[in-house]
């Protein structure tokens, strides 16, 4: 999700001078708020110090890529566990 947001931001900057103007004015946080960054990433990206927009984009890419690599994947219970739980519950009901 955050990489998608970063891609949108960079694509927009290529054709919309408003993005680099906001960046130069120290208002990039306002632009980031319009996109789907996580709270942590939004804070990290807002704090980047860089000489140019392009440099900001590349450093942002590193942050987002690193965050997505560390993000826990969704953990679904194994189908086997699900069956065992049901079986255990059925056994208990039968005993009762």
């Amino acid at each position: 999700m955050s990489m998608q947001a970063l891609n949108q931001l960079v694509a927009r900057s290529i054709i919309d001078p408003g993005v680099v103007q906001a960046f130069r004015a120290g208002r990039i946080g306002e632009v980031l708020d319009e996109l789907g960054f996580t709270t942590d990433l939004r804070a990290q990206l807002s704090g980047i110090e860089s000489d140019s927009w392009a440099e900001f984009a590349v450093i942002s890419y590193r942050y987002v890529k690193s965050a997505e690599a560390q993000a826990p994947r969704l953990q679904f219970p194994s189908p086997v566990e699900g069956l065992l739980a049901t079986q255990a519950q059925a056994d208990q009901e039968q005993v009762a």
Binding site: N7, V10, R12, I14, S52, W53
Partner: protein
């Protein structure tokens, strides 16, 4: 400028190509390169000219005569697919040297690897990832790929 990897540079170029495709609203191949140049985003109005030239020296080159609009000077007798590739490649030079490109910091990011950058940018402008994936998902063949996307054989082979 910080040191950047090839992968990071390629990521940026792919997004830059996608921005132009989204701007023109292309939803299927072939990407209308000449239309992008004819109707550029406002920030590149003074940079995306095209001038047909007779030349045996090069297929296309970007130049910005003093006080004039920047233009891609392209050989008039190029085959259609080669012309598309040459225009797509030189579009990056137009962007890098434009006022907006300089405001973005594109020269520092891309000038040192301009040839590789221009070729990579052109290949993704002509055959964006999403279009290639959709073509594959619909069972498109390698033989049809180059024709549908209007790519020179070498680019078609590289992007397939």
């Amino acid at each position: 400028m910080i040191q950047i990897t090839r992968e990071e540079r390629h990521w940026f170029l792919e997004i830059a190509a996608r921005a132009l495709i989204d701007h023109i609203g292309a939803a299927e191949p072939p990407v209308p390169v000449e239309e992008i140049l004819d109707h550029p985003p406002d920030v590149y109005q003074e940079d995306f000219g095209v001038v047909d030239m007779y030349s045996n020296l090069w297929d296309a080159t970007f130049a910005r005569p003093p006080g004039q609009r920047g233009s891609i000077f392209v050989r008039v007798d190029l085959p259609a697919k080669e012309r598309r590739l040459a225009l797509a490649r030189e579009t990056l030079s137009a962007m890098i040297t434009s006022k907006h490109g300089r405001d973005l910091g594109l020269p520092d990011l891309l000038m040192s690897e301009l040839k590789d950058s221009a070729e990579y940018f052109a290949s993704f402008l002509l055959a964006p990832y999403a279009f290639v994936q959709a073509f594959r998902a619909q069972g498109g063949s390698e033989e049809l790929f180059g024709e549908l996307f209007q790519l020179p054989a070498a680019v078609a082979e590289a992007r397939w």
